[in-house]
Amino acid sequence: MTLEVPNGSLTALLGPSGGGKSTLLRVIAGLETPDTGTVEIDGEDLTGVPVRKRGIGFCFQHYAPFRHLTVRRNVAFGLEVRRLPKAAVRTKVDELLDLVKLTAFADRYPSQLSGGQRQRMALARALAIEPRVLLLDEPFGALDAQVRKQLRIWLRELHSKINVTTVLVTHDQEEAMEVADRLAIINDGRLEQVGAPADIYDHPANEFVLKFLGPATELDGAWVRPHDLVLHRSAEAPGAQQATVERVTHLGFEVRVDLRVAGDRELWVQLNRGSAAELHLSPGDAVWVSPSGTAVAPTPGTQTPGTPERGPSSTEPTTPVAVG
């Protein structure tokens, strides 16, 4: 596979667990040696360069805090190893602690921090060495849902502020779409598709990508997003297909309608509360279903899984990280 990551971008490696995302990240970092292929940053081949000379910032899934050092000393580690003058280290660490909002916790030990605070400390520690690339392995995996949401927004803001090329690994498609400006979908060691989240969502290269990024249901032998389907009470819509309502499930704002169409096929439609209320649906009702204007079915055949895919489109700038 070839994956190019544009300078200053925030790219998410997205895919199911065990698909090789973390391994790819560790190969970029130099923590693992690839059997074949090369890793380049800014056009420089780093494949044989040891981890400590690559100038990458790596945040581990469980943050890997130095348990015997305070927050301040954790953040200072990379600078102290580089033998920077004490005053310079202090200034830089103070800056970073302020950036990640941990100034008040500078003298605590990692065991005295919450998960989110540890995550921010790990980020500050990685950023201290002014890495050329920041790599985050499942950055929010070990946090509870509430903190996760906060940290996503915060990471997004942090990235726009410091603008370091960032690659993160996640198996959560919602997280990837929210945080990243580019997605690289990885499955079973293969790169399935690369592009902007909205593009991939609307134009999935294959069935796997379509299903992984969001809900999908089958209409007339093609896959559609259930929220791209429209229900009608009468047959007036052109191309609409008749169906019977099996069940209506209210999920707050969203209403899920399970249908059965001719040929005993099942189908489901995602409606918002308002449109569901207008339709007055109940099990057994006859409805007509048609794709809305924006519905896009994937085009299997144009991209077979496993085909090497090129990274950025021509509009994107330089390509500092490349794995091939």
């Binding site: 000379k53 130095f66 065991s111 927004i153 915060w154």
Partner: protein, 286 residues
Amino acid sequence: MNWPRLTLRTGALGYLAFLIVIPVGSVFYRAFQHGFATAWDAITTTDALHALWLTLLVVVIAVPLDTVFGVGVALILARHRFPGAWLLDALVDIPLALSPVVVGLSLVLVYGHTGWFGNWLAARGITIIFSVPGIVMASAVVALPYVVREVLPVLQEIGTDQEQAARTLGAGPLTVFRRITLPSIQRGLAYGMTLTTARVLGEFGAVAIVSGSIIGRTQTLTLFISSSIDNLDPIGAFTGAVVLGLIALGVLGLLGVVGPREGRTKWLSKSPESPSDSDPLSLSTG
């Protein structure tokens, strides 16, 4: 009245009293039975002082040897996968399973005058058996497992994440070891070294065989005590025992200083007031 608890306590204390407190206490009592001056005279004879000096010399050489070897083997076993690792792991335990007398005998067989390497060594003027090198070797062998057994589980528990993180931050192998690995294993290492020291101090069987117990030359404190008893010099034996006991107490005390104590090791304990993520993350970044 909580009878089961009281019974348990009395039982435990009684057991300790009969096995440790009373016998050790009586040694102290007998040593000073005829006054402090007599005891002082007994322990300041040339032979006694030499035995004390030799014992400390052996500790100073054998303990660092076992420490370096122990940490090295623990690192190899914890951080590398290789065929035969199980064999190395099992070999480390052999000194625990073997009687020290057997350890001593095996050393004599290999390094003694008639041993496999004996002639070769003798030709080069190197004497191991009935001499200090033999005593150090025997002591190092019997005390070999302790550092490995204390450090290995700690290494396995902390994993490699912190070491890898240090590498990404620019640390070379030595820096990683000195600044990350060593502080992480500090407690286990201190405990292992204490056990090693105690074992070396108290070793008798293996040392008795390899040293020949030559008075004033190859006699350690334990051998001195033994020969004092044989020579019907109970005061010498008891004061020797008291000195050995005091050194051991000193080593245990040293562990208290070197090893972690409350306050210095907040990072080791699970913090009881570990904060939650409730602190609102200020999103209005400034």
